[in-house]
Amino acid sequence: MSKAMLIDTDFCLGCNACTVECKRNNGVPVGQGIAWTRIEEVEVGTYPNVIKYFIKRACNHCTEASCMNVCPTGAISKPDGVHVVINQDWCIGCGYCAAACPFGIPHFGEPKGSAQKCMFCYVGGLVDGQTACAAACPFGAITFGERDDLITRGHQRVEQLRRRGKANANLYGEYELGGLNVLYVLADRPSVYGLPEHPQVATRNLLGSWLSGVLTAGVVAALPFWLLFRRRQELAAKEISEGGE
């Protein structure tokens, strides 16, 4: 059993109470372009048939965490085995986690410094027994709880949305990347919200990419040298032996 969050986008009105409480609770700097969580607006359709969705953007605490795999210093870890935390006193700010994250979440401020993202309130501590954003949300759009319970609840909400005519409603995060620890009730396809339909672990081709490069060097790029310089050597050897006879 592990703690997770359920983001119910159908309940989110984009008030940014979560953004503000996250900053307060975790001491996130203000005015440096840093936000461990933030709200993004998505507009679908054309006037007069427009729907506006709000989606909370923050780390999804993937079970198969690309950022943790690629981090060169070990600054990214899962202290409790579930939630992904960046040790900001060890992170060198190389940006690899930002390039690897399937959701584009880790980011840098100005000045650049260490990578920034949600730590599941590991840094600031829980507020009233839950994450700061969940505690702050006035609409019940962010629920903190046991992951299994949230999945059950999420499926119920998706059913409700479908009955209301949202045929594409779905629960996002149950299986993606080994299971996200932030789940989403979406009223439409994930791509509508800017979420990847089929997120993949950045290091899925780790061995393949090393092998393809090394084999290219050993076989393909070495070929012209083997063809040309070996032949020249043989010609020279032949000339010497013929000259000697």
Partner: protein, 289 residues
């Protein structure tokens, strides 16, 4: 979702520099090996220019960090799953090996009679008994050079940027590193007034063909519109394809027949080096658009 960080010019200049360093060593090692050790001087030149290039590249990497003074954290642990961790160790070990080889070559060639009492003479006399180790070091450096040029592609391909996330990127970067590295070595040796074997022109032409094949297979497997038709298309077609591949291919073939061979090879090396730099630039920038 927008890219949250930009890997800017220090990164693509670094990828190019590391490729030139490792590729130059790789190419000249093979030429020397297959020719029965007749190109040792080129191998030495490649090693000589590789060390400052790797140092320059590493310096660019460090200044691009958010916390540059913590760069040493890279060498506290060894994390083989992280291409950047492995790459940092490869850079460090290749540089150390190359510097050791340069020192041993120096000791080997040193004539004590010229300067019997100086510091150099003492260092050379310490090192001279170790000179046979150069052969072993040269093979170690070869392995590290292959890993180094592969790593520049692996670094980018293990991300979530669609243009980069393919095993064909290391293939492309390895071929490009070999040809740019060879070009840099030839450039320096021509400037030093040395004669260049026609075989290097031929090898360059074959590498250009191989690079075209690698480039085409890369472009058809990734969403490459940003390079081919998008905002970077002029840089791609003029910088990478025309100046980096077609022009040097023509110059290399021409140099096999022409009298002014040196000038043509010189021009082709400059084109190859420029094209290799633009290739790194458009791939790094294009992946983050």
């Amino acid at each position: 979702m927008e890219a949250t960080t930009m890997w800017g010019w220090p990164i693509w200049v670094y990828l190019w520099a590391a490729g030139v360093a490792g590729g130059g060593y790789f190419a000249t090692f093979l030429a020397n090996l297959f020719s029965g050790r007749r190109h040792k001087e080129l191998l030495q030149i490649a090693t000589w220019i590789g060390v400052p290039l790797v140092l320059l590249g590493s310096l660019l990497l460090v200044i691009d960090l958010g916390n540059p003074f913590w760069a040493w954290h890279l060498f506290v642990g060894f994390r083989p799953l992280s291409p950047m961790s492995l790459g940092s160790w490869i850079l460090l070990l290749w540089s150390i090996t190359a510097v050791a080889m340069i020192a041993l070559w120096f000791a080997e060639a040193f004539e004590p009679a010229e300067q019997p009492t100086g510091v150099f003479a003492r260092v050379a006399s310490w090192l001279q008994p170790l000179a046979p180790a150069t052969e072993i070091l040269a093979w170690i450096a070869l392995v590290l050079a292959v890993l180094l040029i592969t790593y520049t592609g692996v670094l980018l391909s293990n991300t979530s940027h669609l243009l980069w996330a393919t095993v064909l990127l290391p293939v492309l970067f390895v071929v490009s590193a070999t040809s740019t590295g060879m070009a840099a070595t030839l450039l320096v040796s021509i400037l030093m007034g040395k004669e260049i074997s026609h075989d290097f022109g031929r090898a360059g032409a074959i590498l250009a063909v191989l690079e075209v094949l690698a480039l085409v297979s890369f472009l058809v497997t990734v969403p490459s519109g940003v390079l081919v038709t998008g905002p970077l298309n002029v840089w791609f077609w003029v910088g990478v394809v025309l100046i980096g591949l077609l022009v040097p291919f023509g110059l290399e073939l021409w140099s096999l027949r022409a009298k002014a061979q040196g000038v043509l090879v010189l021009a082709s090396t400059l084109c190859v080096l420029f094209g290799g730099l633009v290739l790194r630039a458009v791939v790094v920038i294009g992946g983050q658009v």
